[in-house]
Symmetry: C2
Subunit: 285 residues, 2 copies
């Protein structure tokens, strides 16, 4: 039985970029994802997951970040999932960055009648796609070495998934994460639609600041870059992230305010080397 269909492949930096589609049971729709498979090495590859931001698909990061050369150098297998369920119809579900809707899955499991049949991105990434990658690429990767990072909404996702899965990922980092969605109007608007208007406790369960402040597991490092010229600076709440981590001695935040950089991929590409080498170091500890 084939679980995934190969849509395209391209050699790059001696490895291969591949795009696949598969039927997702957790999202009840067909999904696409990209991987980068580094060239064969005597050591199985570590796996690094990148969660993309609002409006993105599985394509943006692999095409624009410049990550492949560093994944190749560090024998890292990249996984780039999509950001929401696709190809379904939900009345008035909007396809724009303010969400909720397509391209705006927020890496959470919806509980509302309107969204819960499809918007189960937490389960999709941490269970379904995680197991599928481990199964399909078991000859290539070390299934015990996964790490995770992301950008903007995907930075929120990386921090949230890292904490909530308790050791599934070895390390975590983020570019300009949505750090405190319950204090950001457009994020909270989506949270209310996905999790109900009254359920404030459910919102907090996907809020990085809340999760970081209350984390009580094994100490960990958290690398976060944030551009000072980010057009969403006021909404992302970088300061609140720093405060939350300061209140919790279990978290060693490496916060880097990058002078003059904005929110886009020209900024991400400048610092992607640092993030991939950071994860490589943690994965090979």
């Amino acid at each position: 039985m084939t679980n995934i269909s190969l849509l395209s492949k391209s050699k790059s930096f001696n490895g291969e970029v591949r795009r696949y589609s598969h039927k997702s049971t957790s999202l009840s729709c067909d999904m696409k994802f990209h991987v980068y498979v580094p060239s064969k090495s005597s050591t199985p590859s570590s796996v690094l997951w990148f969660l993309s931001g609002l409006t993105c698909t599985d394509e943006n990061f692999i095409q624009k970040s410049g990550a492949i050369q560093y994944a190749s150098q560090n024998n890292i297998f990249l996984v780039c999932p999509d950001t929401s369920p696709r190809g379904i119809t939900i009345e008035n579900a909007e396809d724009k960055w303010q969400g909720p809707g397509f391209g705006a899955g927020y890496y959470l499991n919806s509980t509302t009648d309107k969204y819960k049949a499809h918007f189960q991105m937490f389960t999709y990434i941490t269970k379904e796609l995680f197991e599928l990658i481990n199964k399909e690429f078991t000859d290539t990767i070390n299934i015990n070495k996964h790490s995770i990072f992301g950008h903007s909404m995907g930075g929120l996702g990386a921090i949230s998934l890292f904490i909530k899965t308790n050791g599934q990922y070895k390390s975590v980092s983020a570019f300009s994460p949505i750090s405190n969605p319950v204090n950001c109007d457009w994020s909270l608007h989506s949270f209310k639609e996905y999790l109900g208007t009254e359920n404030k406790e459910a919102w907090l369960q996907y809020d990085p600041c809340h999760l970081l402040k209350n984390y009580d597991g094994k100490p960990f490092d958290l690398l976060v870059d944030q551009g000072s010229a980010d057009e969403f600076f006021n909404d992302l709440k970088f300061d609140n992230l720093e405060l939350a981590c300061k209140e919790n001695s279990k978290i060693n935040l490496i916060a880097r305010l990058q002078d003059g950089y904005n929110h886009g991929y020209f900024y991400i590409s400048t610092f992607i080397k640092d993030h991939i080498e950071y994860h490589s170091k943690h994965l090979n500890k």
Copy 2:
């Protein structure tokens, strides 16, 4: 008088990616282009032009090639023009890669009644935009140090413009150029529309193989990469390019057949470092 309007800017690798629009007199329409301005240095930057392929705009290369980091390291100012006139109406002009039409300007000057009012890409790149860059960025760049490279249709353009302008560009290279368009059905279809169905001599004036074979100026190097798994391999005529250069002792062809690579940006990004360092070496001779 402002000749260009800044549409966006993003800091990247300590320099700045900027997108501009301007009214083009040679094309009789509004055009956009991207530049990368490296961070201030005591030495004026060299200028490197990248001509994109069919269906591309001014965006593809700057977003996907990974060129910026190497431009930054080598103090190179990148210029990324669009591939055709835009925002005009021409009856039945097609917007697809087989052309003729938008995204398929072929870097030539049209002579047919249907296209000549707008499709003057040779003049646009070599004269109008060249002079505009030299004027607008005169404090940043060394106006005597320009080089040129390109991909596919833009590889054709780079070779053609390098030869036909006789010393305006210091060096030239190409990724997977359309090397012999008069022997490629879809290219010749566009050539006929732009230059007339009968005028074979005019077609040859934009055919890299013909230009290289008959070149009689100062000897020069030509770096060309070609993927062996290129989906357009049979149409690009890499072999004819090698033959044409072999017949002319003035040309030192550095032809690299890259095993297993296809036609896309995942391939270009693998070898972009080599090309930028090649131009940097020639520009600093």
